[in-house]
Symmetry: none
């Protein structure tokens, strides 16, 4: 059983210890080494193995349980949760794939690709200190040369240090980021807006046409990776989400 990795007995990266324990367990779940209903080490076992205190082990397991990865039962133990309970699927669609799937040609103009200092909103959303350097890109996506989306993205530099060196006319930021920072969690906020003049110009929109703004924030390894505003002509875009509702939930 790969419950406790004998090779790792000392936690020594810069991260908090409870976080390292979380990551170790999460990696085993995502690698399939720990399967649903498998038992994970008890708090005491983690204490003995890694030389941490029980409260630290407790916090790691408790938070993983709160995130839905584990199920805990007093007097029994801690187990890998059924992943089905969290199987809601709403794909983060790659606009390039989407366009190609329609048999059309995708192209992209890189308007901006730079390092800037984050303003308050961005830094907070990315969990960075104010005024931190972040990477910023603005890209216009075209379908058969018709502009259909403005992508305004801020990226956490630690998550993608080589972001500024990419050629985003060939690979979308989405593709690049999902390669180097496997997607873990996504949050979408959607609102209707009236685009400003610059955005209208880029998208060939008329002044009376509403736009759809999708703000998407992605996480990898428990940390925010990027926040992106996707602006679409409102009458031409559709976002679809398919998911299965949770099955009867027994906990709380």
């Amino acid at each position: 059983m790969p419950l406790l990795n004998p090779k790792i007995r000392h936690l020594n990266t810069g991260q908090p210890r409870y976080q390292q324990v979380k990551t170790l367990i999460l990696e085993q779940i995502q690698a399939g080494e720990l399967r649903p209903n498998d038992r994970v080490p008890s708090e005491q076992e983690l204490v003995s193995h890694y030389g941490i205190s029980r409260m630290t082990a407790n916090r790691a397991l408790r938070e993983l349980a709160s995130d839905g990865y584990l199920v805990r039962q007093a007097g029994i133990g801690t187990f890998v949760a059924d992943l089905h309970a969290r199987s809601q699927v709403m794909e983060v669609r790659n606009i390039a794939d989407e366009i190609r799937q329609r048999g059309h040609l995708h192209s992209a103009d890189v308007i901006t690709l730079e390092e800037i200092t984050a303003n308050r909103i961005v830094s907070r959303k990315l969990h960075l200190p104010d005024q931190s350097p972040v990477f910023h890109s603005v890209i216009v996506h075209r379908e058969n040369d018709q502009p259909i989306q403005i992508e305004d993205r801020h990226v956490c530099p630690t998550a993608a240090p080589a972001y500024l060196q990419q050629d985003f006319t060939l690979t979308t930021p989405n593709e690049y980021l999902s390669e180097i920072a496997p997607l873990q969690t996504v949050e979408h906020t959607i609102r209707a807006i009236i685009p400003d003049k610059a955005a209208r110009m880029l998208l060939n929109m008329t002044p009376d046409e509403p736009g759809l703004l999708i703000r998407r924030r992605t996480w990898s390894n428990q940390k925010p990776v990027s926040i992106v505003d996707l602006c679409h002509p409102g009458l031409r875009y559709e976002l679809e989400a398919h998911f299965e509702p949770q099955l009867p939930v027994t906990t709380e």
Copy 2:
């Protein structure tokens, strides 16, 4: 400042103390006494006021932050988060519950409740022959008497034969339908629109304000049950989706 309730100095219900602190703060947020960006008592203040240990106060605030209700910043303090930033599972939310959860009053006006013959679009979406009879309802939902959503729904009669006999000022169609036809699958389509004059009147919108149209189709027992258009004032509404992508994909 309603930060600390002087009437409550002893935590003594059967619940864990950290949970009681969480509830006290959450109640103030939901009651509107604590508004976004308001400061929340520091850990030390909670310690002195309630006679708990700092770790207990820490846990309460930390979990509320992890749930998205609070934002914490080392060296500064703890603040009520922007409601927008709250991460939630994208569920088929019941607007009535949602409003009540904010501590506000929900009411609904039934504008239309009738049987009509389905047009081409509706009949196709519901997998019915053209010109089939379907039930049709238009309902305006109000939050504290302020209209915030128009619900325009078409329902397949076989799935809900008694639909026309319901009193939808008491129970929302969503509640009723989910009771008699357990939800199986949902499809969302979102677009920005400029509402027509009738919709603008119902929602108190200005002519230059964009609207958000959410078209939701639900299935039960492999068959479409209803299709509903939800129209919101675009600048005032946000839809949030939080989900985890599939882990190692084994199914289909």
